[in-house]
């Protein structure tokens, strides 16, 4: 089942496409599409520590295994950039790709404060 959701970006690895604080509308459970952004669960690091949910670009299918997806950061010059090219990560299985990013929500629009107030009432 696909469910719509909102995520907030933190960090610099997707610059210049996205910046810290950007909010995105995502479709949870939707299949990944090559070229589009996705919310992914990267494998645990070498110390067995769980990595946070991350945002990456699905750049291709793994040439060695077409059932798996290759994901990359847009900002390859960010120190510590972590994606399919990083040792210990590689391509991701379908179930590691949690959501498809639809679009970025505008930071401000007419009636935003009212919309937030209404939302807060409904989601309390």
């Amino acid at each position: 089942m696909t469910v719509i959701g909102v995520v907030r970006v933190r960090g610099r690895s997707m610059e210049p496409t996205l910046h810290t604080g950007d909010r995105l509308l995502v479709l949870r459970g939707a299949p990944p599409r090559v070229g589009r952004l996705a919310i992914v669960r990267l494998p645990d690091d070498s110390d067995g520590v769980r990595r946070p949910l991350a945002i990456k670009r699905v750049t291709m299918r793994d040439p060695a295994d077409p059932t798996r997806y290759w994901v990359e950061s847009d900002n390859q010059t960010a120190p510590g950039v972590t994606d399919s090219w990083t040792h210990g990560i590689g391509s991701l299985a379908r179930e590691q790709i949690r959501a498809l990013v639809l679009f970025r929500l505008p930071a401000s629009y007419p009636g935003r404060r009212l919309a937030r107030r209404v939302l807060r009432r409904f989601t309390r």
Binding site: G5, S13, R51, H87
Partner: protein
């Protein structure tokens, strides 16, 4: 249902290791990635993958240099260089191995291994200075 939809989840576009923390592990991870890229390209003939791999390998090599330079110039202090006179040469050789004549310019797994060995030597000294 609504609250589930509009609850904002934070997604990371961030690095693995925190910034501002000195650790040769940062250079090591990048060097290991370079070694893995060299291995992947060796048994893959997808042209797009190879083109991408060349570019990424260059960028990760630059990151190795970056991490090593941060250690060299910011972490290690004059007394360290007195106690370990080989340290300057070690950094010079390690960054050279990440450069055009090393992992940045070539697809040679041997160079990546040499680079990892140099980083391991720096790491040994780093750990000694931490323990002191």
């Amino acid at each position: 249902m609504l609250s589930r939809i509009f609850r904002t989840t934070e997604v990371s576009a961030h690095c693995d290791l925190p910034c501002g923390v000195y650790d040769p592990a940062q250079a090591r991870i990048e060097a290991e990635s370079i070694k893995a890229i060299i291995a992947k390209v060796a048994d893959n003939d997808d042209p797009d993958f190879r083109t991408r791999a060349v570019l990424i390998k260059e960028q990760r090599s630059e990151l190795v240099k970056h991490h090593l330079w941060v250690l060299w110039t910011d972490y290690f202090k004059a007394p360290h260089f007195e106690k370990y006179p080989q340290l300057h040469t070690l950094f010079n050789e390690a960054t050279k191995l990440a450069g055009a004549s090393g992992t940045k310019g070539e697809f040679d797994a041997g160079k990546a291994d040499e680079l990892l060995a140099k980083i391991a030597e720096i790491d040994t000294i780093f750990k000694e200075t931490k323990a002191a």
